[in-house]
């Protein structure tokens, strides 16, 4: 009976905090009103020890023992203020969760800023439960905390709230605040599957005439190298002539153009089928091919580059999930 009650109480508490604080907007500064503080287990033990010391001091009317007790009481009170101060006024600059492949570990990246003149130590971040990451914030400085999130299956991991906390300096108190920011961690399907990547599928997205896969590419021109360009397309000869790093551009119609079609992959298991498509996307991107993706109800025109790759993998990740349906609605 105990556990259901505890989780019920925790849920009620979370709802109350959510109502009380409202949704957060970036950049947020942690104000007094939203910082909570309670003694830790060590703090409670310290309190019990303190009470014992007070009783002993009072019982014997021993001045020095009483003074020691009072000094420790002041110590605990100041420690409480210092613990609270450690989080007070910390700025929350950015929160992001870069997409990852399934069966891996994702991360929520929280960037904190200290606009005050005193450094802050051992700031911790947690989702629910125990702190997962810790960092020091120098005076007028920033730090990034990386919270690991397990990404078991493709889809979206929604993180409703996260907790910033600290028990610095003496571990007697723990102060914390809840940050309510909808963070979504996109989990791509795990790329796997043995089928060969179709180099050119039957359908072309443009009306160009059908060619053989070995047909000559249509030369368009040179452009400067950008991150993500395939080494295969770099004009190495020009580079060798002391020219800047240039990339040869070909018309899409002439490139190794292909469209990965969900309907044409004959794997009965949905997840395996998505994994196969994901693998093709990853491979095509790695070798610098142009590729497109056709999903029921969605067509992503052939292209390449990190953004394109993300679009394709996201479409695979969200296929058939709530998020995809919402997007269409």
């Amino acid at each position: 009976m105990k556990m259901p009650f505890a989780s019920f109480a925790r849920a009620r508490m979370a709802a109350w905090v959510r109502r009380r604080q409202g949704e957060d907007r970036l950049p947020a500064v942690l104000a007094r009103r939203r910082l909570y503080i309670l003694p830790t287990r060590a703090g409670l033990a310290f309190g019990a020890l303190w009470l014992l010391m007070l009783l002993a001091g009072l019982n014997y009317g021993n001045s020095l023992a009483l003074f020691l007790t009072f000094l420790l009481a002041g110590f605990a009170l100041v420690a409480m203020h210092e613990c609270h101060r450690n989080l007070l006024g910390v700025g929350l600059v950015a929160i992001k969760a870069p997409a990852v492949f399934a069966r891996g570990t994702g991360a929520v990246l929280v960037t904190l800023e200290n606009s005050g003149p005193a450094p802050r130590h051992a700031l911790e971040a947690a989702l629910e439960g125990d702190p997962l990451a810790s960092a020091d914030l120098p005076a007028h400085g920033r730090a990034q905390l990386s919270l690991p999130v397990a990404a078991a299956q493709r889809g979206v991991v929604r993180i409703g709230r996260l907790r910033l906390t600290s028990s610095h300096p003496f571990g007697l108190f723990r102060t914390w605040t809840w940050v309510h920011l909808p963070v979504e961690l996109l989990v791509y399907p795990y790329p796997s599957g043995q089928r060969p990547r179709p180099l050119a599928s039957g359908r072309r997205h443009s009306g160009a005439q059908v060619r053989g896969t070995t047909g000559a590419d249509e030369w368009v021109g040179l452009r400067p190298f950008r991150d993500g360009d395939s080494p295969r397309q770099v004009d190495w000869k020009a580079y060798a002539r002391q020219a800047p790093l240039l990339v040869k551009e070909y018309s899409p119609t002439g490139a190794d153009l292909c469209l990965f079609d969900f309907a044409q992959v004959a794997i009965p298991d949905l997840e395996a089928r998505l994994s196969q498509l994901a693998r093709w996307v990853v491979e095509a991107e790695a070798v610098g091919d142009h590729y497109g993706l056709s999903m029921p109800g969605t067509l992503i025109a052939p292209n390449r580059g990190p953004e394109h790759r993300h679009r394709c993998l996201a479409a695979l990740a969200l296929y058939g999930t709530e998020a995809a349906r919402e997007a269409h609605a």
């Binding site: 019982n59 009317g61 007697l172």
Partner: protein, 653 residues
């Protein structure tokens, strides 16, 4: 649970514990300290090298073992000495299993508790720095244990700063916290007496005391000090002699002190007695009344308290140095003070013969004193060993002795001749502290003398030692027998500068003992009176406390919060923020990404009706912030802008 990688936290926790141990190292049995240190080294070695730590079974056995050992040594686990020893050993064992953070915190807690026990044990001023240091160490250990990787210097600075902030509150609480009278329960102290006079005397044991330079008590006389030869401080009066040792005997059947007629001047003075763990209080010979309801004035005019003196004790006493008996000696008392054990035939014969020749009791006393003066007796701290008939050996053999020997032999001679006599122990002398103006009586001033009953005069003090060594009356033992002092003490007394320093220190110590250690309700009211709160009662005490507490909390919260607040924007930024705030009233607020000029043009498009003044101010801000400015007029320009912003009127959109 895995071992924490960081063994520095273990080092700090061990240091906090070792500090607590250090406070008790001279009070616990040697083997307790040695065992604790050994366990500590074991743990530290295991953190560095592949030394195995004991398993669960061995630890359980060890715990049981130390409990039994303490029990065997003290016959109890209750009591300060036994409890402290047990705490030391058990926490040292706990240190062996400090794998988790929680275990380490337990050891720091033990360090704090050892500190408390040390406070209960000794409260002298000289130990205060030690206690403060240990508090600091424990708090720093707490910081290192809580934040692994925190550098030691930072931990010390952090703990020191926190304790400094806490100090005002500690002082406030100390002054205002209500004190209880009496106690809930009594914890037995160690059964071992501190150095000082006891209620038995063998002729040799006072000599042991006299090597101690510790203070027995201080006495402050508002008026004139008694003359040096009158500074006899009365302690236990001993009647029973078994041939080797004098004892008090149980003479409680007399309900009242023998009435005395006091003559001469009355000395009123204050005594601050150091803890002795005996029940005797000391007063100038002869105290006229009991200074405290808990103290009885015994028939022998001793001051006997109901409880042992565990803490510095302050009392006001009244004494007269001259008195005579108002009533004759009862038969019972006469019998009791004439009893002699068997033996010492030569002394008994000698006394009887001398008494017969003298004729009267006073003449007999004079004859015995003359015998001591002229018989070649030597005053010495290291008398030769005496045989079975101690008095015979001493009087007719060695003739070397200390005050105990002379008092003892004198009383035996008196009793053998039928003169009632008894031994009185106490202190003789006292050194005047030139700064505090009080007398300091040390353990080295311990003394024993005799009292004989003379018809018509009553109990009369006779000090046979003063006959053998007349200087003893005027000078302390260290001057007479320099060898009795330890080398540092001799050095101290030789240098006037050091002596002055020691006098100052003693004044501070005396103040500490009487005002801080003995801080109670009456001193509480006294402090309030000085702070300007008159007719203080418990209610006012409470209010004063609450006000002071709130004041402290406010100051602390403000001071600590200050470092968390971001810097206040500069005047130019403040003027700009104010301008943007006013312009937001148009319903078209500046977006975070817009600079002043971009905002200006966006505003021009969205709110064409807005006057040119606002645009001019935005442009002026951009000019002052980013454009070329002259350093000379910059401050004035900003001020002008701020004034213009204040004057700007913006209609609500």
């Amino acid at each position: 649970m895995p071992e924490p990688r960081d063994d520095r936290s273990l080092l700090w926790v061990s240091a906090a514990f070792a500090g607590g141990l250090g406070l008790h190292i001279d009070r616990v049995p040697l083997w307790v300290g040695a065992a604790a240190l050994l366990l500590l080294l074991w743990r530290l070695a295991a953190a560095r090298a592949p030394v195995p730590l004991p398993g669960r079974l061995l630890r359980a056995l060890l715990t049981l073992g130390v409990a039994l050992a303490v029990l065997a040594r003290f016959h109890t686990l209750n009591g300060l000495a036994a409890g402290t020893s047990l705490l030391i050993l058990v926490s040292a064992l706990k240190l062996l299993e400090t794998h988790r953070q929680r275990d380490r915190l337990v050891v720091v807690g033990a360090g704090l508790f050892l500190l408390l026990a040390a406070c209960l044990d000794r409260q002298s001023l000289g130990r205060v720095p030690l206690y403060m240091g240990e508090t600091w160490l424990c708090c720093a250990a707490l910081a290192v244990a809580a934040t692994p990787g925190l550098p030691g210097v930072s931990a010390l600075r952090l703990a020191g700063r926190t304790l400094l902030f806490a100090l005002p509150l500690a002082l406030l609480l100390f002054v205002f916290f209500p004190r209880l009278a009496g106690s809930f329960w009594a914890l037995p102290r160690g059964e071992e007496a501190l150095s000082g006079l006891s209620d038995t005397m063998s002729p040799g044991n006072i000599a042991k005391l006299t090597t101690s330079y510790d203070i027995a008590f201080r006495a402050k006389f508002p008026g004139a000090l008694p003359a040096p030869e009158e500074r006899y401080w009365r302690g236990p009066v001993l009647h029973d002699f078994d041939g080797a040792t004098w004892r008090r005997g149980s003479w409680n059947w007399r309900p009242l002190p023998a009435p005395l007629d006091f003559t001469g001047r009355a000395y009123r003075y204050q005594v601050i007695l150091e803890p002795t763990r005996h029940r005797f209080w000391f007063a100038l010979d002869t105290p006229a009344q009991s200074p405290d309801p808990g103290v009885t004035l015994t028939p022998d005019h001793e001051l006997l308290a109901a409880r042992p003196v565990e803490e510095p004790t302050r009392y006001e006493a009244v004494s007269y140095t001259r008195s005579s008996a108002a009533a004759p000696l009862s038969d019972g008392e006469r019998r009791e003070n004439l009893l002699l054990p068997r033996g010492n035939p030569r002394s008994v014969g000698f006394a009887r013969e001398l008494r017969a020749r003298s004729g009267t009791d006073p003449a007999f006393v004079g004859a015995v004193l003359a015998f001591l003066r002229t018989g070649g007796f030597v005053y010495s701290l290291e008398p030769e060993r005496l045989g079975v008939d101690q008095i015979d050996d001493f009087l007719f053999g060695t003739r070397t002795g200390f005050c105990g020997h002379y008092a003892s032999a004198f009383v035996v001679l008196m009793r053998a001749a039928g003169v009632p006599a008894r031994v009185v122990t106490g202190y003789l002398g006292g050194e005047r502290n030139s700064i505090g103006g009080y007398l300091v009586v040390r353990q080295s001033d311990a003394h024993a003398w005799a009292e004989v009953w003379l018809e018509g005069k009553g109990w009369s003090r006779i000090d046979p030692t003063a006959v053998v060594e007349p200087e003893r009356l005027r000078r302390g033992l260290p001057d007479l027998l320099p060898d009795s002092m330890s080398a540092p003490t001799r050095l101290l007394r030789a240098s006037p500068w050091l002596r002055g320093l020691m006098e100052r220190w003693d004044v501070a110590s005396a103040w500490w003992d009487s005002r801080v250690v003995k801080f109670d309700y009456s001193i509480q009211l006294d402090v309030l009176e000085r702070l300007g709160v008159h007719d203080a009662d418990a209610g006012k005490l409470g209010w004063a406390f609450v006000l002071a507490l709130l004041g402290w909390l406010t100051v602390i919260a403000w001071h600590i919060g200050r470092s968390a607040r971001p810097r206040r924007p500069d005047p130019l930024a403040r003027a700009y923020l104010r301008l943007c705030g006013k312009l937001a009233r148009t319903g078209f607020a500046r977006a975070p990404h817009q600079g002043p000029l971009a905002y200006s043009s966006a505003l021009r498009a969205a709110r064409p009706s807005l006057g040119e003044g606002a645009h001019a101010l935005l442009a002026r801000y951009a000019q002052l912030r980013y454009g070329a400015t002259s350093a000379a007029t910059h401050a004035r320009d900003i001020e002008q802008l701020a004034r213009a912003v204040r004057r700007l009127r913006v209609a609500h959109g």
